[in-house]
């Protein structure tokens, strides 16, 4: 049945984890329709299969008349090398067809450090790396996902990029492409037609204007919209959560069925890109969540369902959902989980509803060590909230808590760093106080500290990221301020954060660096053991770009930014006001609890928050 299988199979005996390449999973779709889509995830199978968007888009494409979508993951180094030596091109999992024979390649942009894997995939597929070098015979290569909101660093590699929600957009993209195929359009005419699909950005129709070495903005060529507005699904309940997602044989990351209970978050944390770009908040109704969770569980046979979103406990009907689900699943051994919890007492109740007898660990994200800095970032959590929550959790039997913090936030001083150490000490003592002496040995407070990376479309998009020498100084200050036994401290690599900063706010010129790094051997940089900073330094040097001028430079608020032609609905004026509020240490409330804060999303896209009930303030 499969074109390449007989050539792939002999390669599987000499490589790690052949299960990545064998397909045949429950729920996979083996239709053979005339219009073929390859959904490419720029990492290995076990990472890509944890991505809910892949499951959603797989279903959305496959329900379209005359369309079959298949999955493609980047082969791990051993397999990629074996494929290159055997002359086997990148293949789709389901039918083992060469990816280059598909009509459309949809590439997920999940995280900046996977960018070089896009090139690895294109190269293995035998396609030209740059859009401008591809021919009429090649598939259309379209990107989309979390990193699409500043697409410039990867823009030259992609023919088109979908900004925003994909559920509705995929049908429009396929329709536009099929119409072009039927009309016998050239590649450039096809791209021009795609540029008219709402939410679709075609980079070749935009030219960066550079004056005196400074970026002055993008000019849209005739026919292309000046600003590309993100696609927004007005109501999440317009589509069911995938009723029968693909069930991997392999033990993948997040090996469970996910039901997205809400999209968007209006808490307004000023460092958080997701909180700005996925607005407005759209909740599914409790009825549809319970229905979709139960049907996906019975169709997949999974032993766990996760209720996913940016902030699940904010759902106005979360208690009802959890009570109904835990009642339905009682006695089956099937569990319900939530990805993250906010710091408040309500969440301990939520965790109790979830856990049954299990008390694995709770995770909270105070993000900053002092109230002043938490006000700067609009993380509306007080020390009192945190201590009360920890007290309740440890009283209820939890013995492990994980706390997330960031260093390098705007306006941060040494006092804020030392404040993290002090806050953690108080958390530890609060936990200890309510833990019986005999059980204190099992207590654990884990502290994970990442380095702040300013992101596009946030109030901090103009800020300088702190240089990594400074990151190291602050890390060592933090280490010396945290000395309790029973506290586990871990860091994110400062060099990874630096590169993430360059790739997330860079312009189109950064594409040359990504290509040079890939040519120098960079693959799978999101994997700690694979990340080699030297490959990137060499690439920056070869291309002649100073990465610190992207990551560590304070921008003027009136400066043109590489993502100004991409609109997420939140206005630049709002971001500036939020920046001023941050510097004035003034907080802004959440519009799903209080009134409108004027971010601009609801006005610009004719959408609004969709709440299933009243939120618990």
């Amino acid at each position: 049945m499969s074109e390449l299988w007989s050539r792939i199979e002999p390669l599987l005996t000499g490589i790690e984890r052949p299960v990545r390449y064998i397909n045949s999973e429950w729920g996979s779709s083996h239709a053979d329709e005339p219009y073929k889509v390859a959904l490419v995830y720029p990492d290995v199978y076990e990472i890509g299969m944890a991505n809910q968007a892949i499951q959603i888009l797989y279903e959305r494409f496959n329900v379209l008349q005359g369309v079959s979508a298949e999955r493609v993951f980047v082969p791990w180094k051993d397999m990629a090398d074996a494929m290159r030596s055997a002359g086997v091109p990148l293949f789709t999992l389901e039918s083992c067809r060469p990816v280059s024979e598909c009509d459309l390649l949809g590439i997920t942009l999940p995280y900046e450090l996977t960018y070089q894997n896009i090139l690895e995939a294109l190269d293995l597929a035998g396609l030209a790396l740059r859009s401008k070098d591809r021919t009429d015979a090649d598939p259309i290569v379209i990107g989309g996902g979390p990193c699409a909101f500043n697409p410039e660093p990867v823009a030259p590699f992609l023919d088109a990029i979908l900004i925003g929600d994909g559920e509705d957009a995929v049908a429009d993209i396929v329709a536009a492409h099929r119409a072009s195929i039927a009309a016998g359009d050239s590649r450039s005419a096809t791209l021009a037609a795609l540029a008219l699909v709402p939410g679709v950005y075609v980079p070749s129709l935009y030219e960066p204007q550079i004056e005196g070495g400074e970026f002055k903005g993008m000019t849209a060529l005739p026919g292309a919209p000046t600003v590309v507005r993100k696609r927004v699904l007005p109501d999440l309940d317009d589509y069911r959560s995938p009723a029968c997602p693909v069930v991997p044989f392999m033990d993948v990351v997040h090996d469970r069925v996910g039901v997205e209970v809400l999209r968007g978050c209006a808490r307004g944390c000023r460092f958080c890109q997701a909180g700005m770009v996925y607005r407005p908040v759209r909740e599914r109704t409790p009825d549809s969540i319970v229905r979709d969770a139960i049907s996906a569980l019975s169709c997949t046979g999974y032993e766990e369902v996760s209720l996913t979103s940016l902030s699940t406990a904010d759902h106005s009907g979360i208690e009802e959902v959890l009570r109904r689900l835990t009642r339905r699943l009682d006695g089956t051994g099937v569990t319900v989980s939530l990805p993250s919890l906010r710091v408040d007492a309500f969440n301990v109740q939520v965790a109790r509803l979830l856990g049954g007898g299990k008390k694995t660990g709770l995770t909270f994200a105070p993000e900053a060590g002092t109230q002043r800095l938490r006000d700067v970032i609009n993380k509306n959590v007080t020390e009192e909230d945190l201590l009360r929550t920890v007290n309740q959790a440890f009283s209820a039997g939890w013995r492990r808590v994980k706390l997330y913090f960031m260093i390098g936030l705007p306006t941060e001083t040494d006092e804020d760093i030392v404040g993290i150490g002090e806050l953690v000490s108080r958390v530890f003592l609060a936990a200890r106080e309510v833990t019986p002496p005999a059980e204190r040995g099992g207590m654990k407070v884990a502290v994970s500290v990442s380095t702040f990376v300013p992101k596009a479309h946030t109030p901090f998009q103009w800020e300088a990221q702190i240089p990594f020498e400074e990151v190291r100084r602050r890390q060592s200050l933090l280490r010396s301020s945290m000395q309790h036994k029973g506290i586990d401290l871990s860091w994110h690599d400062s060099q990874v954060s630096f590169l993430e900063g360059v790739l997330s706010r860079g312009g189109r010129e950064v594409a040359d660096v990504i290509e040079a790094a890939w040519r120098g051997g960079a693959r799978f940089d999101a994997w700690t053991e694979e990340f080699k900073p030297s490959r990137w330094s060499l690439a920056f040097e070869a291309v002649g770009i100073d990465p610190t001028s992207i990551a560590n430079r304070q921008r003027r608020v009136d400066e043109a930014l590489p993502w100004d032609h991409i609109s997420v609905g939140v206005t630049r004026a709002y971001l500036r006001i939020e920046r001023d509020n941050a510097l004035a240490e003034k907080t802004t409330p959440d519009c799903t609890f209080d009134g409108c804060t004027g971010c601009g999303v609801c006005g610009s896209s004719l959408v609004a928050n969709v709440l299933a009930g009243e939120r618990r303030g």
Partner: protein, 229 residues
């Protein structure tokens, strides 16, 4: 285990592309198939309740199995034909039930009961290879012991016990098939590839292993071998 459970023994195959699954992947996937089948599986009591299921000896990644076993405890009786059909409908073809039967609770566990495994090793090579293998096997058996390298550590097998039957070698066209039976002891079993590789080395033979399949798992009783169903 609570008294009111029913022990359903499932004979299943791990074949085709799915022979590349690891034992852990097989365990997870069979559990999910049982849930999809809607069978009233029993759940263990305790801190972390889970499906009550037990598996026979593990198969390595890449080795197929035509008659593998698991015991699944059900909390209510489902006619075995119905349970079989439900499981089959909920399984991928490469990892699917072949036969099911209820067995008594007092029967020993699969791990304890299944002590004989029959394998088929298919190799590239014709008559010359077959003759060479036959004489190498005879020489190895005559020595009585075989030392093999297992994950970097030497492991010594007493062949009188580990290899209860002399290997069969037969050739069709340019393919040679070695049929052999090994005994699964407390300290593991002789891997068929290890024996074949030892024979290749001993006879300075050329031959590439194309596939390894465990064809049967059997129970030893009073000197004879029987099917566990």
């Amino acid at each position: 285990m609570a008294e009111s459970t029913f022990r359903l023994r499932v004979k299943y195959q791990k074949a085709g592309r799915l022979r590349h699954l690891s034992h852990l992947e097989v365990v997870h996937s069979c559990g999910r198939a049982a849930r999809r089948a809607g069978l009233p599986y029993a759940v263990t009591q305790g801190f972390s309740p889970h499906m009550k299921v037990a598996f026979g000896p593990a198969l390595p990644v890449g080795t197929a199995g035509l008659g593998e076993y698991l015991d699944l405890w059900l909390s209510s009786y489902v006619p075995s034909g119905e349970a079989f059909e439900a499981l089959k409908a909920a399984s991928a073809p490469g990892l699917a039930p072949v036969q099911v039967k209820y067995v008594a609770e007092r029967e020993p566990s699969l791990g304890a009961a299944l002590t004989i495994a029959k394998y088929e090793v298919v190799m590239e090579g014709g008559e010359v290879l077959a003759e060479g293998l036959t004489s190498s096997f005879a020489a190895i058996i005559a020595e009585g012991v075989l030392a093999v390298d297992h994950k970097g550590k030497p492991k010594v097998f007493e062949l009188a016990s580990a290899l209860p039957k002399e290997p069969d070698v037969c050739t069709i066209k340019e393919r040679t098939t070695v049929g052999l039976a090994v005994r699964i002891g407390e300290r593991g079993s002789l891997r068929p590839e290890a024996l074949v590789k030892a024979a290749l080395t001993r006879g300075a033979l050329d031959g590439r292993i194309m596939s390894v399949t465990r064809t049967e798992l059997l129970v030893e009783q009073d000197g004879s071998w029987r099917d566990p169903l």
